[in-house]
Symmetry: C2
Subunit: 447 residues, 2 copies
């Protein structure tokens, strides 16, 4: 990087918003990688040389041209709310911050077209004016960008109905700027979107997205407590399987996880296991019958109108659970697990005890509601963490390892030949988010 | 019945609309029982002595009082679009025709309250004005009443998303008039609605229902054809499992079933297996990708706006398939089958060939999309029909026998103690739709 002529690059991009202040560079180079003690060590000193904040696709093209011309790495960043260093520039270079590309291009019933930097909660506020909302969103919903969620996310609230971002239909089209000798704008539609979906921005700069919307329900937020953990888990599964009850969020937390949610302590009594939920107001009565069947007790209930004021329960679920827990005990880290069955959840609950405190998020995978885990792990050593992962895998669980920044080593495990082929085409110099795509790294070695 | 003082009854009900004309009595005593050659013989001569058409609950109370006073049977009828004689008065008496009780009491986003005789399509037209529609409806949607569907139906279009009528949440409350010495009006809410849900009107006269609504999508109607039947079946399952594609109807028909749908012959080429579908217009592009993956060919596509004019594809699915096929070959009858898995579908397809032509309707059961069958059977003898049923059951399929008018001998198989207990309370003289509830008949014998 030392040979790079940064003054020339800055001069070429002079008409764009450029950030070179060291404090800002540091802030805009990192994400929530520190949830992982493993990634913490590897990533904490990674910095961009320059952050650029384009306001439109023309400016993005200019940045792409400049990066190709000077052969400098380019890493795309949304709000930096990822957890595995997805947007951390391993080899420095330019970070392209999309947050000023925040125009909603079109918003109609069922479908919207947005620039990559549109924030999810801000979008939803607009969409709800016409009776619609995002199909799914992460717990970082208030600050996260839609482009960032597509580039580095996979599921969230809403996934109990609509599945994962990768599922056909949940992303309809994207516009992508390439890093070819002559950077171009490509439109990918239909199945072709999978070329860049969840690719950490390694093979194209997503500038616009066409996304499907969901009908906006008045979501009631509820906490239900249970004496026994497996009773809570079974309740979560039953709710997930209840086709007649419309829901958006099913989070189950084994005690002592609720003890870390201090803002909710009035509703989370000592020793009780908790379900944090979002349910359609119209289905509240049948929902209460389900709670009764499973012996739960509702301790918190906010109407949709009340829930829009103040903190949403969402911000105590998914990886916000981890955030709150780590703010009290920084030795905690986490795993991401597909248990697939409740039997396996129970086995892990019994086997690990409080070393791996079970936090379930129910979501649909291939048409079925399944329990996925974001367990809190009492971290001791990397060896022990790997042992815990191995044990889960030996027992048939799938671990989406959040302690690696390598795309394929996280959830996917295998190389995606389509994403690699697309990278070979649109990023022939390997400038985009270098070091993240194993398929590219191994190809480079074999050349 | 001969001892009944009908002139007195008629005089007591003089202020109500009463039908005594023999042609009308005949018409209003029967349903589509003739789909079954077995039921045909047993039911074709059953007639009410009197049909009464109340316009409100007060008139229903009056009818109830009169039936109790004179100890005459009372059978509730919606539009008479059932297929197993649900509303055929086995012992004559009074038929209470609900079709004049057709007021929508309230209609708000997500929830409505209707009188039992409200017709489904007419309701939907109103509901769509505020962006909502019924969660599910049968193929007799244009004429069927909401109360009749709850009393005698179980699933229909929409069930691929919302499951069955019996699922918690799909019926929120009912008002019921009893046949006690002093008939009363009871309100059943929440799980208590199961006391009268799908009870063929044997234990209370449903006068009003609170039902949940679904967001109204612009549903595109499509026909997709396939060279191989199992390819079509697998496509149906994949579509049912596609969480990112919003759908309302997945019907799969093995050739030669499509040959019976003569009105659609331009879109159903010789020898091809067909999928008849309703898909959200917003998800059409990902849907087309799924069709491509399974090697299907779209031969028919009507936008939501076009589809509201003329016949809906719905009227070629569910038991309308049987209706059309029987209009060409009256020797055909049908079965209702839970195959549960595609393996079992394939096994039956191979085993029976065209003796049991497979017609699948996908619906959600306990959170999973499963293939249910409304196979067309080339009827020979009752013995052979029972052999076919037995073979299915031996192979692990569940048959909801449509050749019996006995409530428990259809889909449920077992006695529902809650429905029996409710009947004992509200119909102590066993006047309601006598001869249909096995639990009551067996209880009567043991007394």
């Amino acid at each position: 990087m030392s040979a790079t002529n940064w003054p020339s690059i800055i001069s070429e991009l002079a008409e764009l918003e450029i950030i070179t202040d060291a404090v800002q560079l540091s802030k805009l180079s990192l994400d929530y990688y520190h949830f992982s003690p493993i990634l913490s060590k590897k990533l904490n000193n990674k910095r961009a040389n320059l952050v650029v904040r384009p306001v439109n696709e023309v400016e993005v093209l200019k940045i792409a041209q400049t990066c190709v011309k000077y052969q400098v790495p380019l890493t795309v960043r949304g709000a930096g709310t990822g957890n595995y260093g997805q947007c951390i520039p391993l080899e420095g270079g330019v970070v392209l911050d999309t947050t000023k590309m925040n125009q909603i291009r079109s918003l109609e019933p069922g479908l919207a077209c947005v620039e990559a930097g549109v924030k999810m909660a801000a979008f939803d506020k607009k969409a709800r004016e016409i009776g619609w909302e995002l199909r799914m969103a992460p717990s970082t919903y208030r600050t996260a960008t839609i482009g960032g969620f597509i580039g580095g996310g996979s599921a969230g609230m809403g996934s109990i109905t609509y599945g994962q971002l990768r599922d056909r239909g949940n992303l309809q089209a994207v516009r992508v700027v390439t890093l070819e000798d002559e950077p171009r704008i490509l439109e990918l539609r239909g199945d072709d979107v999978q070329k860049v979906n969840h690719a950490y921005g390694t093979n194209g700069i997503i500038t616009e997205l066409e996304i499907p919307l969901a009908p906006a329900y008045p979501w009631v937020e509820l906490i239900v407590i249970f004496d026994q953990f497996m009773r809570a888990a079974r309740f979560g599964q039953a709710l997930g399987d209840s086709d007649g009850i419309v829901k958006k969020l099913i989070t189950i937390q084994a005690w002592p996880i609720p003890s870390y949610l201090t803002a909710l302590e009035d509703y989370l009594p000592q020793g009780k296991h908790a379900a944090l939920l979002m349910i359609s107001q119209y289905d509240l009565e049948p929902f209460q019958n389900l709670v009764k069947e499973y012996g739960g007790e509702i301790t918190y209930q906010k109407t949709a109108t009340e829930a829009t004021k103040g903190s949403s329960l969402l911000e105590f679920t998914w990886n916000h659970t981890t955030l709150h827990a780590r703010s009290i005990d920084p030795n905690l880290t986490y795993l991401q697990t597909f248990y697939f069955t409740l039997e396996r959840v129970e086995q892990m609950y019994d086997y690990f005890g409080e070393e791996a405190m079970i936090h379930l998020e129910f979501l649909r995978v291939g048409g079925k509601a399944i329990p996925a885990g974001l367990q809190l792990i009492r971290f001791t050593t990397e060896e022990r963490l790997n042992e815990i992962i191995r044990y889960h895998e030996e027992q048939g669980a799938g671990i989406a390892n959040p302690h690696t920044y390598i795309l394929e080593d996280g959830g996917r495990k295998v190389i995606d030949p389509e994403q690699l082929a697309f990278k070979e085409k649109v990023d022939p110099y390997g400038l985009m988010n270098p070091g993240k795509m194993r398929a590219w790294l191994e190809r480079a070695v074999s050349v």
